[in-house]
């Protein structure tokens, strides 16, 4: 019987949540058969079996978050330990790996081992001796390096935010009875375990919302031509291509074209520099019940309308069936969000860091509009743009949005092709 451990599903991944067991105790599996679905901060992946054999015990429940290297199930390998040499080799490698990773995850305190930050020996020693959480330290050295003096200052004066906390307690104490009253008067229902993806979403959202000074603007666009154009081709397109010609595809296409003229919206903020990207990779938000994914249409500017419609269809399908890979979601430079899909007519998007803007395409609504002095029934849609005001100003954002608006309004249902 062999214990199988949680695999490392990405460079920086340290834990995974078991989403689903695809096998049960007693099931026979072949090598490479999927055993379970694991959800990490980055991706959801199927974990394949590394052996032929029979599952004898499942050690981690669905919904449980398990450290990389911790055992998740046991398997009785065909032929036992004396089986064919090849199988034994695999078995040994797996075990060695387990050992190694076990050692790694046994390190006492993750906070005391801050990966990825360059700490000098003295800083390392001081935070160890005083049990300091380095996240609370502010680095004043070169490139924000934490210097010995920073640690000494911290030790002498306490964390930077301490004064606030010191002021807060009385207020918090006053509040406490109210909270407990509420607790007793509100009957709590089901408590939902926060999944890895949810945690990651939460972290990113807090970071974006707190770090970026968001500014917001909205333009109303006459989408009547768009509606007519799409209606004209919709049925035949579906028949020929096998997927829908969505309104959203037109907006994504328009954005990818207009970004060429306003490259500053296709950039990222790095503190000291603003990097303008040559590639136009559009992130699109796709919700899957309780999760939000932002897969990327790579080089959207090089694709035809059909190509874009196809990418959207493929990515959305992958997202809904948990098949997106890290690659599918990497490299986005600007986000277009199809909030209209669920009927919203106005929304304020949170920018997807390190991007500098997000465009929300709202629901198309038929309403009376004045054209000159005439009242007409037109299909109207709101385009809502959130911008990072550190990088972009209202002027360029307005020009960009206006250009998208013109692209949509100038579609010609009689002449334009959808191919």
């Amino acid at each position: 019987m062999t214990e199988i451990t949680m695999p490392k599903l990405g460079e920086s991944v340290t834990e995974g949540t078991i989403e689903n067991w695809l096998v049960k105790v007693g099931d026979r599996v072949s090598e490479y058969d999927p055993v379970c679905e694991v959800n990490t901060a980055k991706v959801t992946a199927e974990v394949p079996s590394v052996h032929d054999g029979v599952i004898t015990e499942i050690l981690a429940a669905e919904g449980e978050t398990v450290d990389v290297g911790a055992p998740i199930y046991k398997i009785d390998i065909d032929g036992g330990a004396d089986g064919k040499p090849a199988a034994k080799e695999v078995f040994e490698t797996a075990e060695n790996k387990t050992e190694e990773e076990g050692v790694r995850s046994n390190k006492p305190d993750v906070k005391a081992q801050p990966a990825g930050r360059r700490l000098s020996p003295v800083v390392m020693r001081l935070i160890g001796e005083h049990g300091i959480d380095i996240e609370e330290l502010e680095g004043t050295g070169f490139n924000g390096r934490i210097t010995k003096k920073d640690v000494e200052k911290y030790l002498a004066e306490g964390p930077i935010k301490q004064p606030d906390q010191a002021v807060n307690p009385p207020a918090a104490e006053k509040e406490r009875p109210a909270v407990s009253e509420r607790e007793s008067s509100v009957k709590s229902g089901e408590s939902i375990k926060v999944s890895g993806v949810r945690k990651e979403i939460a972290k990113r959202m807090v970071q974006s919302k707190t770090e970026i000074p968001h500014a917001w603007l909205m333009m109303e666009v006459d989408a009547t031509n768009l509606v007519n154009l799409r209606n004209k081709h919709k049925a035949r397109f579906k028949e020929q291509e096998g997927y829908n010609l969505t309104f959203f595809s037109f907006f994504v296409k328009a954005v990818s074209e207009v970004l060429k003229d306003y490259p500053i919206l296709n950039s990222s903020w790095d503190g000291d520099t603003i990097t303008v990207h040559d590639d136009i990779n559009l992130s699109i938000a796709v919700a899957n019940e309780d999760k939000l994914f932002v897969p990327v249409i790579k080089n959207a500017d090089e694709r035809s309308l059909t190509g874009i419609a196809k990418s959207i269809s493929t990515l959305a399908h992958k997202a809904r069936s948990n098949q997106l890979t890290g690659d599918d979601m990497a490299g986005g430079t600007f986000t277009v969000n199809n909030t209209g899909a669920f009927g919203s007519i106005q929304s304020m998007g949170i920018i997807n860091q390190p991007q500098v803007a997000i465009l929300q395409v709202e629901s198309i609504v038929k309403k009376p509009v004045f054209i000159g002095d005439m009242l007409a029934a037109r299909h109207m849609v709101n385009l809502c743009l959130s911008i990072d005001h550190r990088v972009l100003d209202g002027l360029v954002a307005g020009q960009f949005l206006k250009a998208v608006k013109e692209k949509i309004e100038n579609l010609n249902p009689d002449a334009d092709s959808v191919y």
Partner: protein, 327 residues
Amino acid sequence: MAKLSYLDAIRDALFVAMEQDDNVFVLGEDVGKKGGVFKVTEGLQEKFGEMRVLDTPLAESNIVGTSVGAAMMGKRPVAEIQFAEYILPAVNQILNEAAKVRYRSDNDWNAPMVIRAPFGGGIHGALYHSQSIESIFVSTPGLKVVVPSTPADAKGLLMAAIKDNDPVLFFEHKKAYRLLKGEVPEGDYTIPLGKADVKREGDDITVITYGLCVNYAMQAAEQLSKEGYEAEILDLRTLYPLDKEAIIKAASKTGKVLLVTEDNLEGSLISEVSAIIGENCLYDLDAPIMRLAGPDVPSMPYAPPMEDYFMMNPDKIYNKMLELSEY
């Protein structure tokens, strides 16, 4: 206390030492009638006579060899080598004889002698009159190597060197001779050999150096202070044997160490200081140990812009100090 130049302080030390002890005598090229090419020994021959202030032939091995013999017989010779780089013909007498005689004779013999030599550049002296040669001598147990950085230190250390019962090389920075002035205690005044000295207190960075560079580092530190950084400056004073305790203490205090010498970088004395810090202070270091030194070219050039490029100065030290402070 009188305000003396670095040169006057050295002369004062010689006067006091010769008055105190009849066994002390001075020998070297032009030290007597001329009073030395830099006038360090001016007036000594008039005061103490030709038998205690000897003009010698231009033969350094002879000057040092004579000194070794006289010292072993109970005299306390103070030899002058006119320029430090001229010492090379006498290296055998220094390293093989003077430094090792006590060890070789199992304590039966010793050589209480001092060899004074002006070293260093920045005086348009070019190849034969600008070198730093201390690194040749700082790996021979039995020998002491001393470099003063102030007039008071020059007097106190030279008197201590003359009273020491083993050979001491005493290197005087020739640019410091008339550049540095300061209060110097009168009469008998000694500073213990083998002890480094904190010349300035600070808690942002530590600068460890010796000789004229101490003064340059002090100037740079005042400049740096305006940027809000305070430098601790440790003057090694004795280059061999090194004051390890003081080096470790000073380096550990700030965790950011800059080592400065006018010598060529590779294989210089500060490389050894760096090794001591690396071996003893790893868990107190907050930045890589930085070294600032002359380039690895054969000699100090003559042409002024090229000499400036080679020679240490306060600006160079300041820039490096700031870099380290901001690290």
